[in-house]
Symmetry: C2
Subunit: 351 residues, 2 copies
């Protein structure tokens, strides 16, 4: 594994967890830069020995020495543009930003490939549960036909708490907030926006199709009451926010939605409590693959990000100085001399 | 993804499933060679148009045009030696052979790295359940402390059938044989040899330590009776063959075993029936990650193998002509001219 220099954009819950892990990493990963808008306030606690370059100017990172940029600022813009710029400046990028990946993933992935760099986003879906790899690599040899999953840890924590504790939704939400599982404004979680962005990413990976997150129908979980749980219980079920997608290749027809639905109590979904995420991935040849794990929190999310950094560090071609494409002629000349193979692949995509 | 030529060693249950998938693959994978000792008998059914080179001489494969050799003959020798030879001849290798990986995995992996080739074995553990990737890549960013798993599909099919059907172990075994889940001689499954080879592989990946499969204590499941199930049932449990490993880094102490044990009925293990495999992987930061799926059968195993082929096809450096190491001097000369980066990595490991 090569030594890699990492720049960190953002020092919130996820960014801080990643930074702490990098400072104590057994791997040859070096945190060289931190971009944060409130530099002065966080600097002393995080970097008492002054080994890191701190900045509030993105250009310092783009022109800096980092091999990998970890984007942990969240939101669509400027995050998407900064990821694009980082790739254009020859850096590989790791992000936990599901909104950016759902909206711009295909474009950023293509740009990374053209640059001979990597764009990785395991942390954007499922926290520590390695579902992005399971679908795009582990089950690459199958035709995936269906995905059913709990993808929002906050909503699952709220619904499972309502079920177990008999409390109202606002009470359960207050408890989740106290545990750090819920935002001040939980509407993106309860309404399904978070889950449908993640489902759109999984559809792209599993079915090879492009789906707009906003085009996936969603029904809010904010209106679930104890009466719904009582009704569910009578039928041996409970209530969970599920994200579901089924793709019929022969008709090129996708059915996808996010909604609170009744699930069997003893199913993998009924048994998922707290901020757990869980998924059943159905393949034509493999049958059902089940995967579950912590779906939220700085620690689990940092595991996914550090794993992505490790994957890039193993790919030497993604951490060496970027090739410079000057003119078609000079590139061809290099290729005829028989230089590196990643060079020829870039040519193939550039011409 | 590059076009890759695949040679297949062995045309048993797994080999046939892989071959059939390759012949009908939407990927740019071409099955160019089949090595099988009973060539004449299988040839017509499998290759009516005569597009594949059939051989019963391993040298034809070693000197053939394949980029990737899929080893599906099983057993330790000559499989291990042929994998070694294939890597030395500049081919990447994919195998489902847990005994070879448990005994020679570290050496073969190092050889593959030195050759700039890949050695992949997702199918050696857990069938279609992508646990090798989950541990070695998806959770690379964590410190794994514990593995608990059902790793033998045959034994799980037998034990879960005894539990559900009240039949004796020999009766359950007969049914498993009829379904193709059990060998004529099931002792490697029931006695735990199969599971401890797989556990040894997972220990190497998860803890970075080398464990001899034969050094892992095992207790046979062949003596489990209905009385054991009745006893278990009274305590709310059932009986499963578990493989368990826990590593204490501070003391460098590994505790590992394979045995039939009582597990809670509503646990992920108690709920695993038939030839299912399941695992709970515990990480210091990620907590528990659960993964389960079909643990046996040609179809699921072929998914893991095709996924490994796809991973190699994505790594262009592993499918281009192999570099030739002549003398230290000439290699150094190449490096100073600034040739390919995989070349410098080979040098670093060679000198």
């Amino acid at each position: 594994m090569s030594v890699v220099r990492v720049a960190l954009l953002g020092l919130g819950t996820v960014g801080s967890a990643v930074g702490t892990r990098l400072l104590n990493s057994p791997y040859p990963f070096v945190l060289t830069q931190v971009f944060d808008r409130s530099v002065a306030r966080k600097r002393e606690a995080f970097d008492p020995h002054g080994k890191i370059v701190w900045t509030s100017r993105i250009d310092d990172v783009l022109h800096g020495d980092a091999d990998i940029v970890v984007e942990a600022i969240g939101g669509v813009e400027p995050a998407a543009e900064w990821i694009r710029q980082a790739l254009l400046h020859g850096k590989s990028v790791v992000t936990a930003n599901k909104q950016v990946v759902a909206r711009h993933g295909a474009e950023l992935w293509a740009l990374a490939a053209r640059q001979g760099r990597q764009f990785r986003f395991e942390a954007a879906v499922g926290g520590a549960m390695p579902i992005v790899r399971a679908i795009s690599e582990g089950l690459a040899g199958d035709h995936i036909t269906r995905l059913v999953a709990i993808l929002n840890g906050t909503t699952n924590a709220v619904l499972s708490r309502m079920d177990a504790g008999g409390v109202t939704l606002p009470q359960a939400l207050e408890e989740a907030r106290a545990k750090g599982f819920a935002e001040a404004d939980p509407s993106a979680d309860l309404d399904g926006d978070d889950a449908r962005a993640k489902l759109a990413i999984l559809c792209a990976l599993a079915f090879g199709i492009r789906v707009g997150a906003d085009d996936i129908p969603a029904q809010t979980a904010a209106t679930v009451t104890q009466a719904d749980f009582e009704h569910a219980r009578a039928g041996g079920t409970t209530v969970r926010q599920l994200a579901r997608a089924e793709y019929d290749r022969s008709r090129a027809a996708l059915t996808a939605w996010v909604a609170p639905v009744a699930v069997a109590r003893d199913s993998v979904f009924g048994r998922a409590t707290g901020a757990t995420n869980a998924a059943v991935i159905t393949g034509e040849h493999a049958g059902d693959i089940v995967i579950s794990g912590a779906g939220a929190g700085g620690g689990p999310t940092a595991v996914a990000i550090i794993s992505d950094i490790a994957a890039i560090a193993r790919d030497r071609a993604a951490v060496v100085p970027p090739p410079r494409l000057t003119s078609e002629f000079s590139v061809r000349k290099h290729v005829t001399r028989g230089l590196s193979h990643s060079f020829t692949s870039i040519l193939a995509e550039a011409v």
